[in-house]
């Protein structure tokens, strides 16, 4: 379990993380989303032990990460901006990591090299951006970490490889009881992969929920009435969004879908239709619900 307690990380006068509280359970794929500069990469670097928090603690299984060799042996951080040693090939990078990680497996490495169409003897600097990302993932998985931290993991990957990586990560978590934390700007990328989502905004975790709970907890309905009820008449609903155009109403409410539907049926709608909510819409609703202006948040 990753625990971040009251973490403050400051760069000069800018607070990248501002009294952040976060708990990431084991064996989860945790999606970390947020706008640019929200502190996603900083949070991952703190978990990886690259940065030291000015205030607060970053622990894995109740042990602080920073300068903890035993813990770091089971952590791998794959940055959004990849770095490989000058003139290195995948094989030389594998040798490099094998010297540091106790659990580095050449068998995993060779198997992954067969799965991904990469030449392990070729210089990595000659690879394309997507190929370099694949190389990074192969090396990361070969280290067999318990905690895999991926910053913009799918950046530059083509749809086929992206799908393959998704499946690989899901299997990896299942088989190794590992925890994967993935940061991304793109909610759609994480929608099918993560089982937990955290939204970082201005250095604070605005939202930290299980994906199913998140999706099930919100619902949207589109309905038509002979005479549309006013927002006040629907006061029993926990309305997040309400728009009325003549006798047509579109609303988003928090709560059980069946109960809300039953409640709306009591107003004898001419038609009542439940609309699906994307993860992005769920987030927008949640953020607006807690008072954040969506227009100033870019995804």
């Amino acid at each position: 379990m990753i625990q971040m307690t009251d973490v403050v990380k400051v760069f000069g006068e800018y607070a990248a993380l501002n009294h952040l509280e976060c708990t990431i359970e084991r064996e989860t794929i945790y999606g970390l989303v947020g706008p640019n500069g929200s502190g996603k990469s900083t949070m991952l670097r703190l978990i990886a032990g690259i940065y030291r928090a000015e205030y607060g603690t970053v622990c894995i299984d109740d042990e602080p990460v920073f300068e903890n060799v035993a813990l770091k042996n089971r952590i791998f951080y794959l940055s959004d901006e990849l770095y490989f040693l000058p003139q290195a090939s995948m094989n030389s990078m594998a040798k490099f990591f094998a010297g540091y990680y106790d659990h580095f497996s050449y068998e995993v490495y060779h198997s992954l090299c067969e799965i991904f169409p990469l030449d392990p003897n070729k210089k990595i600097s000659a690879f394309s951006k997507g190929m370099q990302r694949q190389a990074g993932l192969i090396l990361a998985l070969s280290c067999q970490p318990n905690v895999l931290l991926l910053d913009e993991a799918f950046d530059g990957l083509d749809p086929v490889v992206r799908n393959a990586v998704r499946r690989l990560l899901v299997n990896y978590v299942a088989e190794y009881n590992a925890t994967v934390v993935i940061s991304s700007h793109n909610l759609r990328e994480l929608e099918d992969l993560c089982d937990h989502i955290g939204l970082l905004y201005k250095g604070k975790l605005l939202l930290d929920k299980d994906l199913d709970t998140l999706k099930l907890g919100l619902c949207r309905f589109h309905c038509g009435f002979k005479k549309a009820p006013s927002r006040g008449e629907l006061s029993k609903l926990d309305l997040l969004k309400f728009s009325c155009s003549g006798n047509l109403i579109t609303l988003t409410a928090r709560g059980n879908r069946d109960e809300i539907e039953e409640y709306l049926e009591s107003f004898s709608p001419m038609f009542l239709e439940a609309l699906p909510l994307t993860l992005e819409e769920v987030f927008i609703q949640e953020m607006e619900g807690v008072g954040y202006d969506f227009n100033h948040v870019e995804f």
Binding site: L85, F104, Y106, I115, Q144, A164, L168, N171
Partner: protein
């Protein structure tokens, strides 16, 4: 395609358990193979080969055919000298010129990851403690640097053993040389490593070590120049070798007394000195080097330890951040501002820009500090607002600058104006040449071998002079005619001061030394030179109209010297400046060049001979003892002038302002004489190239002041009888140029 890792497990690990320290060490070695190759090639090409070839060349040349043929034609002495074998060791130039640069580059390469954000993401995640990683990297760095160099010196050591033979000093020299080579590599390596852990960009990693290594030496150099030219009474050198070596170990090699370590090596230098009879021991020769290098070794080790500590404390987010370290920025800005100020102050203090700049030198000093400070901060910070926030640092610079100005202006808080009590003085030395009685100056002798006097009268005179110059307290820029005083005090300490005599009163006090017997016996050439060592003696009249040689049977040079010494002792200052008796003539002495002395082979010995090879003594009218001796051997008759031999005689009157433009510049006499006797003519013979000058240049250029040119013997005689070779000169005096077949000389015609 199987997209699962279900078959993978940690138990399938094929490599042994990781040892991060060992792995980092080995990785650094393998990663820096190009530098290892360059180090090895350099060690072979610039360290081993030159030394070995020099050994072979110096010690094995005689066995070649040409060498054998040549040796057959040599004398026995020459052959004996040839077979003396020479050791070739020492630090060698490559070690101090190339390897420190390699150490700097290696350190930059090894720790460049600290300035790379992407690299930090990889290295920062690795399961190894930062301190361990730094230690492993530095151990690898030291291995890369030290092993090729150490092996090279071992090769040179064994080559010396094989070619020249064993000597006990060789082993000690090996250790000293290894120490030196290690220090000059470890210092830039450790400093760059430390800077890398503090700074944020590779440019800073390059600039800060270079600045920190060079700035103290540059600043010290400028400060000492300012002190030398500004502080009243300062008598030290512009820069002290030991201090320089403490500021930078590289300075240890570039001074005269440090170059032996690079060039010849310790063993060879010691053997040469012992052959010359200098009682130098191994320890006395290298003691300063050992102290300096020992200190720098500790500093280098401290820097490397600090680098480990620095990395452990480092914030990784500094990577790629410009100006990440305020401390470094402040230190660099501080040094830059002080160097800028000191440079301007040094230039203005020397005085060649003129009095206006000299008088305003302190204003310019602070202006230069301000300009340098602002320029540096604007370049580095690129923000006026940020620059303005650094005003406390500027204040520190100004305060330090003010402290320095106060130090200089108060003559080290009064230390340099302090005059010792007469009762405290045991001995005194004064670097003053005196009013010379011959054409030869003892200036060289004086500066090489200071003479200490314990004569109470002389000590009192020196103290009076010291008191006077301190009261006068005149320090003109660019005045190089300084007089150096050194007191040996009774408590065992010494006090050295240097002043210029710029007032008549001070000059008059100084001139009284010419009447002091102790001073004369140590300085006057008639006491310092042994006349019996001369082979040829000629006498002439005061105007060089006749020259007659005396055989050594005719003249007893020892008796002559005794008579001259007695006359010089009896001579008063008044006699010297304004002689009443006409001059008798000149005694010229020469030494034959020794047969075994060759200018090219034994320059030092030849130069010593040459300095005293020729000498002329003016026999004045007041030299009664000398005149009596010369009369007794019949030499006086040979010194009578033949006025018919004068080819040209020219009288030049003074300039309108009472000045005087002589060619001879009054010789190497007392520079302070002009303060109380107007000028002084010391009886110089003009060089041959001035033969035409007397009849061509002077009449053309100075027709107004030209009295006339004379050839009539009677007229010539009447003029010359009133002339002197050595005499004070005033506004009523004329200069008389006399050309004979023997020489062209310059005389003074007083009160004409």
């Amino acid at each position: 395609m199987i997209l699962t890792t279900s078959n993978f497990d940690a138990k399938h690990r094929t490599s042994p358990a990781a040892n991060p320290f060992r792995h980092t060490y080995l990785h650094e070695l393998s990663h820096n193979i190009p530098i290892i190759v360059i180090m090895c090639l350099t060690a072979v090409c610039f360290l081993i080969l030159p030394a070995v070839l020099s050994l072979v060349d110096q010690n094995l040349t005689p066995v070649t055919e040409s060498g054998v043929v040549a040796s057959m034609n040599q004398t026995a002495d020459d052959t004996a000298r040839e077979v003396v074998k020479q050791y070739v060791f020492g630090v060698r130039p490559a070690s101090i010129l190339f390897f420190p640069v390699m150490a700097f580059v290696l350190s930059l390469v090894q720790f460049s990851y600290l300035t790379n954000r992407r690299a930090i993401d990889v290295f920062g995640t690795l399961p190894i403690r930062r301190g361990a990683m730094m230690r492993a990297k530095m151990l690898a760095g030291v291995t890369i640097l030290a092993v090729p160099v150490a092996l090279s010196y071992l090769v040179i050591f064994f080559c010396n053993l094989i070619i020249v033979g064993f000597h006990q000093y060789l082993i000690l020299e090996l250790l000293v040389v290894l120490l030196n080579a290690l220090v000059v590599m470890l210092l830039p390596y450790g400093l760059t490593a430390l800077i890398s852990t503090i700074s944020g960009t590779i440019m800073e990693n390059i600039l800060y070590p270079l600045a920190l290594l060079s700035a103290p030496v540059i600043l010290y150099g400028f400060i000492m120049e300012v002190i030398r030219y500004t502080m009243f009474g300062y008598a030290g050198e512009a820069a002290n070798h030991f201090v320089l070596a403490l500021l930078s170990p590289f300075c240890e090699f570039f001074a005269d007394d440090g170059w032996y370590l690079v060039n010849h090596g310790i063993t060879q230098t010691l053997l040469e000195q012992q052959e010359l009879g200098v009682g130098t021991t191994f320890l006395s020769l290298v003691s300063q080097n050992l102290i300096v290098m020992g200190i720098w070794l500790v500093i280098s080790a401290g820097l490397m330890a600090a680098a480990v500590f620095g990395l452990r404390r480092r914030k990784n987010e500094r990577a790629g951040l410009k100006g990440a370290s305020r401390v470094l920025n402040h230190i660099a800005c501080f040094l830059a501002a002080l160097i800028g100020g000191a440079l301007v102050l040094a230039i203005f203090s020397v005085g060649f820009l003129g009095t206006a700049y000299y008088n305003l030198r302190y204003v310019w000093f602070f202006v230069a500090i301000l300009i340098t400070f602002v320029a540096y901060q604007l370049i580095v910070l690129q923000s006026v607002k940020a620059m303005l926030k650094t005003w406390p640092l500027l204040l520190v610079c100004v305060v330090l600058g003010s402290g320095f100005v106060t130090f200089v202006e108060t003559d080290a808080f009064g230390a340099y104006t302090k005059i010792p009590e007469e009762s405290q003085v045991h001995m005194v030395s004064i670097d003053y040449s005196g009013i010379m009685g011959t054409t030869r100056s003892t200036e060289t002798l004086q500066s090489d071998r200071p003479v200490y006097y314990n004569d109470p009268d002389l000590i009192q005179t020196v103290l009076e002079f010291h008191q006077q110059v301190v009261e006068d307290r005149i320090r003109e820029p660019g005045n190089y005619q300084a007089i150096r005083l050194e007191y040996k005090l009774k408590d065992g300490s010494s006090m050295v001061r240097q002043y210029t005599a710029d007032t008549q009163k001070a000059a008059e006090i100084l001139a009284t030394l010419n009447e002091n017997d102790s001073f004369l016996s140590e300085n006057h050439v008639i006491f310092t030179n042994d006349l019996s060592g001369y082979d040829i003696v000629q006498v002439s009249d005061p105007y060089y109209t006749v020259m007659n040689e005396l055989t050594t049977e005719q003249i007893d040079l020892e008796a002559l010297q005794q008579a001259l010494q007695q006359d010089v002792m009896e001579q008063t200052l008044e006699d010297m400046l304004d002689p009443q008796e006409p001059e008798i003539g000149w005694i010229h002495l020469w030494k034959n060049e020794p047969e075994d002395l060759n200018e090219e082979e034994n320059w030092d010995e030849w130069n010593m001979w040459n300095e005293t090879a020729e000498m002329s003594i003016l026999v004045k009218g007041s030299y009664q003892n000398t005149i009596a001796y010369l009369e007794s051997i019949g030499a006086i008759d040979l010194m009578q002038p033949d006025y018919t031999a004068v080819q040209d005689l020219l009288i030049v009157s003074p300039t309108e302002d009472g000045g005087f433009d002589s060619l001879s510049l009054y010789g190497n006499t007392d520079p302070t004489l002009s303060l109380f006797t107007k000028n002084w003519l010391s009886g110089l013979v003009l060089p041959e190239e001035f033969d035409g000058w007397i009849t061509e240049t002077i009449p053309e250029a100075d027709a107004n002041r030209l009295s006339d040119a004379y050839q009539d013997p009677d007229k010539v005689q009447s003029i010359l009888e009133d002339c002197y070779n050595q005499h004070g000169y005033d506004e009523n005096s004329c200069v008389v140029y006399v050309k004979t077949m023997n020489a062209t000389s310059e005389l003074i015609l007083p009160n004409s």
